[in-house]
Each structure stands twice: as structure tokens, then as C-alpha cells.
Amino acid sequence: MNTIHSRREMLTTMSSGIGWLAFSSLAQQAVVKGGLAAKEPHFAPRAKRVIFLTMRGGPSHVDLFDYKPELIARNGKTASLGRDSSGAKLFGPVHPFAQFGKSGQWMTTLYPKLAKHADDLCIINSMHTDLPNHAQAFGQMHTGSFQFVRPSIGAWTLYGLGTENENLPGFITLNPPADNGGAQNYGSAFLPAICQGTKLGGSQLPELYSALLKKDVAPGPPMKNIVSASPRELQRAQIDLIRGLNERKLERDGFNPEIEGAIQSFELAFRMQSEVPDVLDLRSEPEHILKLYGIGQGKDQFARQCLLARRMAEAGVRFIEIASPGNWDHHNRLRELLATNCAATDQPIAALLTDLKARGMLKDTLVVWAGEFGRTPYAQSEDGRDHNHKGYSIWMAGGGVKGGLTYGATDETGYKATLNPMHIHDWHATMLHLLGLDHTKLTYNYGGRNFRLTNVSGEVAKGIIA
């Protein structure tokens, strides 16, 4: 446990005449102030950390993971799916499906490299959420609520488990989209501010501009205020001076946990300054790893993000979120754009799984691939699909889920979840469960109520746990 009370400081504190009682209260308060020290989960966890691959826009489940022979057979027939479809035509998958792995999981053929991991994937075909609007569904995917400002699942995780490495932020989100609720998707709402996600990579350069420069969307400083204007030794001198001043003050004032906390925060910040860039520096990776992810080959931003995710996971970051390079909101040109998005994500994601596995980390790292909803089995504007929140697919791998499993199902055309439906709350409950947290006990009292990620519902899907 890397708390702020190293032995040396404990000795200093005690030697300056402050008794044990003060120290114990101090230790207690420092935990509240810092709030990030690793905590015991409710029960033995299967996953220690999460890598969340966000596929924003609503990937088409009926084209990717939810194989529906009936939909192929009835291609072009009028859909009769209640009010919603209003006479639209059913639309079969735009690219072929095939079975992969020993488990024979059905998947699109657009994901050839990922398909090699079919036996690691737990595909959930019965997801459903409350609304078919991007902003609300995206918010609900992250916070459980589409309507109110609530803490993100990453913030809850950090609140529940703390971090394994205090020199790094415990919840990192890489280049998150600024729309669809923006910062609220990685915010801490009423939880302590320390639980909020730290955004790495800014939005300083719009996508178009960065494509032109052939650089990342965010070539600037990776994290806010992480780059020092002064050379390291000079800043060290500054921090020593601050420390000296603060210790003098502490001597004058006697007991003061807050001031001790402030002294420590500068040291932590100083270490963070070197550790964050270290984690972000891919130059130390061997050639074969870079190649595995496809780094250095064309537009490789997502590949680098996937590798960064692994490096962060290794360094002890608890919750890492990365966003897909493209948007999956395919109202038209589905055939073409789906292939583009799959091509852009296939190798890096497959590499991430391979890499984690090779390091023995997949077993306790939960990798999640999810968008905010799916798409309709019927067509929109000839070559596209509309939003569908009543049934869609995600997959998870590692971290204690059963590989090679297809869980739940939608109706015959892929419109609505029918078998083992999994609502966002159920999914969140399951993820927390894998992390060793009981979603009904992970609560925070605010405004007179004990709030939880899953509000008043959520059931752990035991069937997917290995």
C-alpha cells in the first residue's frame, strides 16, 4: 500500500512530538483526503482492472456478432416490428458471418484477427438500454443513468477499489469524445473529485487537422499540467523549497493533517510528472510488439492507444477507457463504413488480447468492447440502419468471464433481447461483481440517499462468469 505515510515521515511526525493518537487520526483523515489508496474489495475479485473499449455511435450487432439466418432469409421483406419500423424493409447483414474457434462462435468475417480470439470472447447478444438517443444512451452506458448526472463506472470502481499505483491517476480515459455528455461520462458527480477520470490527450486539434499533420488528435501535453516549464532539477529545488516552508509552518502549528497532505501532494505530483510520460513513451517497446499492434503502419492512433492501455494496466491503473477511432453511427453507407471501422480496430484489439495473454494479465484484466446501443434489423436510407436500444451486442474477455460463450439472444431478426436480456444495470452489476464488488453494497450517501451505480436494480449475470 502506497499511502502518504512512509516510515520516514511517520518517524518524523512522531519525533516532532505528536503522539500516536494524532497519527492514527491523521492516517484516517489522510485516507479521506487522498482517497485513492488500494482498498479491499467485498469478496475475492476475478478482475483487478478494466480496459473499456468504447465503440461510440452504436455498432450494428446484426452485422457483427448477432447472427440471424432469419434476417438473411427475409431480406427485403417488410418489417413488422410495431410502430417503430413503420413499413421499413428488413435488411440482412451486409458482410458474411462465419463460425470461429473451437467454440464455433458466430462473428462477422470483418474481424479476422479478433476472430482468432473467439474462444476468449464472451459475446452478449441480449443487451438492452433505455433510449435510442446517442447522448442519453452513451451517458447511461457510463453512469447507469440517462437523465441525471451520476458517477461514471470508472469513478465507482476507483471509489470501491482505490488504485494500485498512486503515482498515476487511477482512472484514465484516452481522447474521450467531447460530445455525448463529454466529461460527465468520466466524471465523479457526487463522489469525491479524486475518483473522476483523468483525460489524457486533449481536444486541442480537431480530427481533420490532426489527420493533415499525420499526428494524433492530441499532440499536445498528454495530461493537463504534466509538463514542467522548468528543467527537472530546478523544479526539484522549487519543491524542496515548498517542502521546507511547509515543514516550518507545520512545526509552528503543531498538529495538522491537511498540511501534511499538501506537502505530500507535491511529491506525488513530482513523481507523476515523470511516471506519466514514462508510461506514455512507447519507444521502450520492442519492435515485435509495435508490429503486433500495427504501430507505425498508417493511421495508428488506435493501435497506440491499445498499447498504452496495456502499459497502463501493467503500471497499476485501475480503469482505462479508450474510444474507437471512428464513429459507428451508420445510418447509411453501412457496407463500406462498417468494413472501415472493423479494419481500423481489428488488429489493435486482437493484439491487446494477445499481449495481455502472453503476459498472464488477461486472466485478471477485464476487456470490454461496447457501444451505447445497436442498430435496427431493418434498413434506413437503402444502405444503413437506425438506432436500436431494444437488443444489441457487446463482448467481454478475460477478467473472469467465460470465453467462447455466446450469452443471451434477441428475437429472430435481432430486434429485441428475448433470452437472458441484460439491461445496462445488469451489465454494470456483473462488471462490479467481477471486480469483487457487490453492486448493492457499493454505495455513497448523498442528499439523504445511498446511491449506487445500478440505482435500484441490476442482477449479476452469473451465467457468464467462468
Partner: protein
């Protein structure tokens, strides 16, 4: 065993009955004691403890000044005499300062979940509130005037019913109307209002009773819906709260009104024409979900909202027929009330709703942007036909339970239904009734909390059973009674608290038998809030603009030297640094900020340009700049700490500034040969007019301000390899190279404009004496811009200029020239000097990242030290 039985049987008794016994619902008790100190001393004595001695004068001045104004004391503050009389005088003068209201308004704005913007709304609507600024300024004014707290609340809840039209006090109602929009879902908007009123004024978590009776407090679901009815019977209206008239605005408002009248008329006619269909639809209700999120309706669809209005009417009037005449009446299901679009957007087809919001947005934008526009308030006004609320079973509006009259909470005794309109005024009067013990207790506790860092009740917005018990119940009641007796004077409470020995005691203590200091044997030191810290930094730099009130400004706009209270609060996008420093979440009523100490705060202090900028400004003050080292340190200490440095402090400060600084890596410093600026291309002279440097360097780009694009210079930006022209032809970006020595030089460069959209860019190469050398207009292509052996005299400049085509669209470009001196032209160099080369991209990256001087480093350190950041 007996115990268990009692416990189990208790479960069968209504929790409400038991909970009404809870201390906070009891009338105020007259306890034994006549002063704060008496109560506190008694608590300490019981534990054999003593209070701490009085703090020194310097500490007291700093404490009082920050507490009351949120600003540091001036460096001239006289601390020689701090007798009780002098201290009382200081408190009086601080209370009289206009900055007092600013500081305490911020505390109230946390409770009022204040934001300048609405949160997530559809694009058709203006994002920013028209009434946020007037509300914030009203709170400041009310506190400065020491408005009695009961009136302060009355105005915020029912101002529309007690002051005349155009009264500035109407702005008070922003308290109710500044919440999130929840995409227009009435139930959630009302829930937010119930929450802010009940937690904010009564310390009761009534919103917990939305779905079930409150689990711990005597608040049944019926009470929640009694209040729900009050707000359901009130409609939002945007009204002027000033007497100024503006013709242009009147015209816009008139146009908006006319459109609304027309569209309402059409909608009513449409519904009447299809009343038979609406009645038929009653058989098929599940087809018309009441929650109409994101449903697109055209004018041929039956509107689900109206379908349900028919349902409600038919239930209420069994046997009655909906005749053409009935349908025209107020309250008929076909009637569209004459209200602001925010209240009635569900009545219309989607296209019409969008049109009406856009028209409203024109009005809103005028009010927000034009300084000539009178201030506006968003008030609630009673609807002509108040509605009788029904309990939503388990909070679900689709399962309606019993009707409940609009009335006050049952925990306060016998309920009598409200009779006047919505009952909002009666609600406000019930809250401010001096016999209601909660309102005064909650407020004095808030005041106490902001003076001592923690309330006597540690859960300031929850006085229910789940909340904390008061540490000094008798003192709390005594203060509450004093508060009411003083005529609800908040300033009287400050005087009372601050004149106590308890408040004036030192925060230093070695007695650790009460580490949490619940008994107040010493003062609690506290870290400056984000607002206090930023204000203190700017103030130390001597740059604080003390103007009170007015429109919000972006937090880090470099021109923004106003108090942090006036920084734009966009609830969709709260600046990360504010979140890092525990700023109150503007979506939720926050009675107490969490206080964390995290490395991100230190990173901000060390590495964000803001603090450095203040350090530099302080050092640039004439009296600091001109002084010798030792005097300078004295003056710096005076500005930062309002005291002289002690001799050892003086010594180590001198040592720090005199230590040798590691020189900056000075590779043949070609970066100095480049300048980055903007100006206007003048075709007639072939040169740039009005060249000015781009003012802000981010470390990777030169631009107008920290944000990009920004208000100052729009999109204008130069990076190592390219850039973006400014928004118009007056703002071409100019990469300027300055020749260091006479000679002739060769220039190699390729201009790349990649986007195939827009109308391209114009580029020029211009010599300070020779004028235009090359030019190109490019769209989606490359242009080679090479120049061979051009003669330069030392000091001549070569400008690489880019401006927009005819319009601003996809104008980013790549252009990083390389300049090589031609050997033959180098005079007196012996002929064997290697070619000297300036590469725009490489030299750009070699720019020093604003290296600080030792003095700047020292001041930055002092600005981040705990003596600066804490109030003892």
C-alpha cells in the same frame, strides 16, 4: 430477547410516527447559556479540555478577511492593535464591503446548484440561461444589503407574488429555475425543484419520497406529491426584472409572441378537428407512450401527450361530451396554454417545437449578448387552473395513485390544503414561519459551517435521522432563536459568531484528545477554495479587477482578471481545474464541498501558466521591480503574506535567487531568428500591414489565447510545421524569419493545403525591402515555394504569410520553410564555414518553454506554500 421483540415490533409501526420525535422537528429550546463561548466551554469542560488562546492579530485579520470577503487582507492592514473593539470594527468594515456579498453568495450558489448554462439541451435551444447573471447578482446584492433571510427565501420561492412587475427582486426566482433541463421531462424538473427547496431551506431530503415513503424521516410519498402539485401548478415565464426598455428587443419579443399565438391556434384547431381520433385512441393507449423522448411527430400523427390529456379529461368528466365548445375552453384537452415554450413543447409536432425554440433562442441570445438589453428573470407564475396532484406509485407517472391536496409537509403538524393559486406563496410562508424550527437551524448551521469549516450538524442539508446529530444542540437552538429574533439578519449572526472567543482562538494546538475537533478547542484551519486561491493569486499580482456583478467570462481567458465568482459555469463542461479543486458540482445542490488534497492540484500550481503569470506580474510591479534584492523580498512577503520575512526566511530566499541557474540548452539558437505573428496582407505594397506577435504560446503552438480557437484571434495559429490563418483577411498568420547577417540565402518550402473542401487559402512570401517574392492560392494541393539566392541585410525579414480564401472553411495548412545561407555570400568567413540552415520546424521545437527566472520560481513557490494556501 426483549430487545429483539421491541426491534421487530418497531418495524410494524410507521417509521414516520417514530421519526417525528426526531430532534430537528422539535421546537427551538431555550437552553442554559448566554453566549457562544458559554456553550462551547461547557462542552470542553465536560471532557476536561480548554480552548486555545486568542490567535495573534495577523492571523485574525487574515481569517476574518478571507471568511467574510474571500480575499486576502491588503498588505497595509494594521495589525498593531487587535483589541476586541478593533476587531469588531474590522468585522463591521468587512461586512460593509461589496465583496462580502460575493463570497457568501458563492456559498449559497453551491446550494442553489448555480450554472450559467442549462446542461444538455437539443441544438434548437440557446444553451446559456438568460437569467443566470441576474440571479447571481441578486444574491450578492441581497447579502450585501443584509436582506432578512425570511424575505430572501420568500423572494426565491414566490417572488412573483410579492413584488411588482419589472422588480429586480424577480431575479431571485432563478433559485427554482436554474436547474438542469432533463430534456424537458416535467417530473424530473419538478423533482429537482423539490430537492433544492427542501434540502436547501429545511435540511430535509424530501426527494427521497418520490418512489416510496421516506425510509427514515417522517415524509410520506403523499407529502412529496403535495409539493409536486405546487410546482406542477406553476409555469415558467421569462420576464424583465428591470425597467429599461429596448426597442429592438421588444420587436423580437413581439415577433416571437405572434409566432407562438399562431402556432398555438393551429395546434388547437388541429386537435379539435381530430378529437374523434383522439377519443378512439383511448382504446389503444399503449401505442402512445406518455414519455415522448426523442419521438418524432409530424402534424398528421396523434400527439401522445394530447392523447393522455384526453384520457385525463375523460376520467375527470365521466359522462360528459367533448363538444366543439368544450374543446375551446381553458383546461380542455385541446387547449394549448399561453405559456413559454419551455412549458408547452410537448403539445406540438416536432418541427413546430423546433421552430418555436429557435424563435425563442433569438430573443434569448439578444438578452444574453446585448448590454443594452434589460436584465431578465425566469420566474414561476401560477397557472390559472391549479392541478390536483396524484401520487405516482413507485415514482412511475404511468401508475397513478390517490389524489393529494397541495399542502405543506405533514411533519410540521396538521396539514391544511393551500388555497391561493399553486400554493407556492403559502409554501414559502410555511418554510419561513418562525414557528418552523428547521429553517433557522439549517441556516445558522450553514453560517457556522463556513466560519468553522464544519457545521454543528455535520450534514448541513440533511437534518433527518440519517444526518449527523448536532455536536452542541443547545447552542444550535440558541443561535437559531437569536437569528429569528434579530429579524433574520445574517450579518448579525456573523458579528455574533466572530466576536466569540471560540472563533478568535488560535488554530495551533498540541492537545490532541479531540483530533476531529468536534468540541472546538481550537480553530480549524482550512485550505483556500479554488475561488479564494485564484482571487488571492491575482490579487497578489495586483491585477484583480474588483468590479461587482455582470456577465460571466471564460475562466482562463488571459483578459479575465475578475473574481472567480464571475467565471463562466458551464455545467456541461466545468473546467478540469475547478473539478480538481473540489468546485461544487453545478448539477446538484451541494451543501458542503469535499476537500481533497491531490497531486493534480500541485501539478496545476507548478505547471499551469496561470500561477506563473501572476508571479511574473507581481515581480513586474514597479515597487518590487525597482527594489534591491533584500527589499524586494520584503515587498514580496508583504504582498503575499502581509508580513515581513523573518531573518532566516530572508536568507534562504536570497540564497535561492542567487544560486547559479543551469543555463538553458543553447544549441546554436536558431529559434531566436523566428517570430510568429499576424497581420493583414497588403497587395499594393506586397507586405504585411500591422504585424503583431501572436500573444500566447502553448508549448506546441502560437495562438491568441490558451483555448483554440479563442475570442481574441479566432483560429489564428502557428505550429512547428504549419498552422491556420485567422478568421478573416485582417488576420493572416505570419511566420517571420529575421536575417542575422548580411548575405544571400536560398529558401526551400512546400505549402500543403490538404482538404478538398472550402475555398482554399492564399499564401505569400514577402521580403521587408523587396516586397512580394512569391504567392499562391491553393485548394487541396501542394505548391512549391522555392526562392534562389535572395539578398538580405542583417535585420531584414522574410515573411511567410497565409490568409483565408474568400471564407473561413478548412483552411489549415502545412508550411515549414528551410532557409540556407549561400556560402559565396558569407563575407569574411574564410570560405569554409558550413552552410548555415534555419529549419522552421526544428527551430520551432527548440524554443525555450518559457524558462522561469530564479525570482519567478521563488514567487511561484511562495504562492503555492501552505502559508499562502491555508487560512489558520
Amino acid at each position: 430477547m426483549l430487545c429483539r421483540i421491541v426491534q421487530i415490533s418497531a418495524l410494524f409501526i410507521s417509521t414516520s410516527l417514530l421519526a417525528a420525535e426526531h430532534w430537528s422537528f422539535q421546537p427551538l429550546k431555550a437552553g442554559k447559556g448566554n453566549s457562544i463561548d458559554e456553550f462551547i466551554q461547557r462542552g470542553l469542560a465536560e471532557k476536561g479540555m480548554k480552548s486555545s488562546p486568542r490567535a495573534d492579530a495577523h492571523t485574525l485579520i487574515r481569517r476574518a478577511t478571507f471568511d467574510l470577503t474571500g480575499l486576502p487582507p491588503s498588505d497595509e492592514s494594521d495589525s498593531s492593535d487587535m483589541s476586541d473593539k478593533h476587531f469588531a470594527h474590522l468585522v463591521d468594515s468587512l461586512l460593509a464591503s461589496p465583496h462580502y456579498g460575493e463570497q457568501w453568495a458563492r456559498h449559497w450558489l453551491d446550494v442553489a446548484r448555480y450554472s450559467d448554462t442549462k446542461g444538455y439541451v437539443y441544438a434548437r435551444e440557446e444553451k446559456q440561461w438568460v437569467h443566470a447573471t441576474p440571479y447571481r447578482d441578486w444574491v450578492v446584492r441581497a447579502l450585501n444589503e443584509d436582506m432578512p433571510y425570511d424575505r430572501f427565501l420568500l423572494l426565491q420561492i414566490a417572488g412573483d407574488q410579492i413584488v411588482p412587475p419589472n422588480s429586480p427582486d424577480l431575479a431571485a426566482m432563478g433559485f427554482l429555475t436554474l436547474g438542469r433541463r432533463f430534456l424537458g421531462v416535467t417530473h424530473d424538473i419538478i423533482d429537482d425543484r423539490i430537492d433544492v427547496v427542501t434540502r436547501g431551506t429545511l435540511g430535509l431530503t424530501v426527494a427521497c419520497a418520490r418512489c416510496h415513503d421516506h425510509k427514515f424521516d417522517p415524509i410520506p410519498t403523499r407529502d412529496y406529491y403535495a409539493l409536486y402539485g405546487v410546482f406542477q401548478s406553476s409555469a415558467e415565464a421569462v420576464v424583465p426584472c428591470a425597467v429599461v426598455r429596448n426597442e429592438e428587443l421588444s420587436a423580437l419579443v413581439k415577433k416571437n409572441r405572434e409566432l407562438m399565438t399562431k402556432r398555438r391556434g393551429e395546434q388547437m384547431a388541429r386537435t379539435r378537428a381530430r378529437s374523434a381520433d383522439y377519443i378512439a385512441a383511448q382504446k389503444d393507449l399503449e401505442k402512445y407512450p406518455e414519455e415522448v423522448f426523442g419521438q418524432l411527430l409530424d402534424d398528421k400523427d396523434l400527439n401522445p401527450f394530447i392523447v393522455h390529456r384526453f384520457t385525463a379529461w375523460l376520467e375527470k368528466h365521466p359522462g360528459n361530451e367533448l363538444t366543439e365548445d368544450t374543446l375551446k375552453q381553458l383546461g380542455s384537452p385541446a387547449f394549448v396554454p399561453d405559456e413559454h415554450i419551455a412549458n408547452i413543447e410537448m403539445y406540438f409536432p416536432t418541427g413546430v417545437t423546433t421552430e418555436l425554440w429557435k424563435s425563442q433562442a433569438d430573443v434569448d441570445r439578444f438578452i444574453i449578448k446585448k448590454s443594452a438589453a434589460p436584465a431578465h428573470a425566469t420566474v414561476l407564475v401560477d397557472r390559472p387552473l391549479p392541478s390536483m396532484p396524484r401520487v405516482f406509485i413507485r415514482g412511475n407517472p404511468l401508475t397513478k395513485g390517490d389524489e393529494v391536496p397541495r399542502q405543506f409537509l405533514s411533519a410540521f403538524g396538521k396539514q391544511t390544503p393551500f388555497t391561493k393559486g399553486s400554493g407556492r406563496l403559502e409554501l414559502a410562508q410555511a418554510i419561513t414561519d418562525p414557528r418552523n424550527p428547521l429553517t433557522a437551524r439549517v441556516m445558522v448551521n450553514r453560517l457556522w459551517q463556513h466560519h468553522f469549516g464544519r457545521g454543528l450538524v455535520s450534514t448541513p442539508s440533511d437534518f433527518g435521522k440519517q444526518g449527523g446529530a448536532p455536536s452542541h444542540p443547545e447552542l444550535l437552538d440558541w443561535l437559531a432563536q437569536r437569528f429569528i429574533d434579530s429579524g433574520w439578519s445574517i450579518k448579525a449572526m456573523h458579528r455574533l459568531i466572530m466576536s466569540s472567543k471560540t472563533y478568535q482562538q488560535s488554530s495551533q494546538s498540541s492537545d490532541l484528545s479531540d483530533p476531529d475537533n468536534r468540541l472546538l478547542s481550537r480553530m480549524n484551519p482550512h485550505r483556500l477554495s479554488f475561488e479564494e486561491a485564484r482571487d488571492a493569486w491575482i490579487s497578489a499580482a495586483g491585477r484583480l479587477n474588483r468590479l461587482v456583478g455582470g456577465r460571466p467570462e471564460a475562466l482562463f481567458a488571459s483578459s479575465n482578471t475578475r473574481r472567480t465568482l464571475y467565471a463562466l459555469v458551464d455545467r456541461e463542461n466545468v473546467p478540469a481545474v475547478m473539478r480538481t479543486f473540489d468546485f461544487a458540482n453545478p448539477d446538484l445542490s451541494i451543501p458542503q464541498r469535499t476537500e481533497t488534497t491531490v497531486p493534480q492540484q500541485a501539478l496545476f500550481g507548478m505547471n499551469h501558466p496561470f500561477v506563473v503569470q501572476q508571479a511574473k506580474s507581481l515581480l513586474n510591479r514597479p515597487e518590487v521591480k525597482s527594489a534591491d534584492a533584500s527589499t524586494r523580498i520584503h515587498r514580496i512577503y508583504a504582498r503575499l503574506f502581509q508580513r515581513a520575512p523573518m531573518s532566516d526566511e530572508l536568507n534562504f530566499s536570497l540564497g535561492f535567487v542567487h544560486e547559479d541557474q543551469a543555463p538553458i540548452i543553447a544549441t546554436a539558437d536558431h529559434s531566436k531568428s523566428w517570430q510568429y505573428g499576424y497581420g493583414e496582407w497588403d497587395e499594393s505594397t506586397g507586405k504585411v500591414k500591422h504585424f503583431k506577435p501572436l500573444p500566447h504560446f502553448t508549448g506546441i503552438a502560437w495562438q491568441g489565447d490558451e483555448a483554440w480557437p479563442n475570442e481574441k484571434l479566432g483560429w489564428a495559429q502557428l505550429t512547428a510545421s504549419g498552422g491556420h490563418p485567422g478568421n478573416d483577411r485582417k488576420h493572416a498568420v505570419v511566420r517571420r524569419w529575421v536575417a542575422g547577417t548580411d548575405g544571400s540565402y536560398t529558401i526551400n518550402s512546400t505549402l500543403i493545403h490538404e482538404p478538398q473542401v472550402g475555398d482554399g487559402i492564399r499564401a505569400f512570401v514577402s521580403h521587408s525591402r523587396l516586397g512580394k517574392l512569391r504567392s499562391a492560392t491553393v485548394l487541396g494541393v501542394d505548391a512549391v515555394m522555392n526562392l534562389d539566392t535572395i539578398a538580405f541585410k542583417a535585420g531584414d525579414t522574410l515573411d511567410f504569410i497565409v490568409d483565408i480564401g474568400s471564407g473561413l472553411n478548412s483552411d489549415q495548412f502545412l508550411w515549414s520553410p528551410k532557409i540556407t545561407s549561400s556560402l559565396t555570400a558569407v563575407t569574411g568567413a574564410g570560405g569554409d564555414t558550413p552552410n548555415d540552415t534555419w529549419e522552421a520546424e526544428k527551430d520551432f521545437s527548440a524554443q525555450p518553454k518559457s524558462q522561469l527566472t530564479a525570482w519567478e520560481q521563488l514567487v511561484q513557490v511562495l504562492m503555492l506554500s501552505n502559508e499562502f494556501m491555508f487560512v489558520d
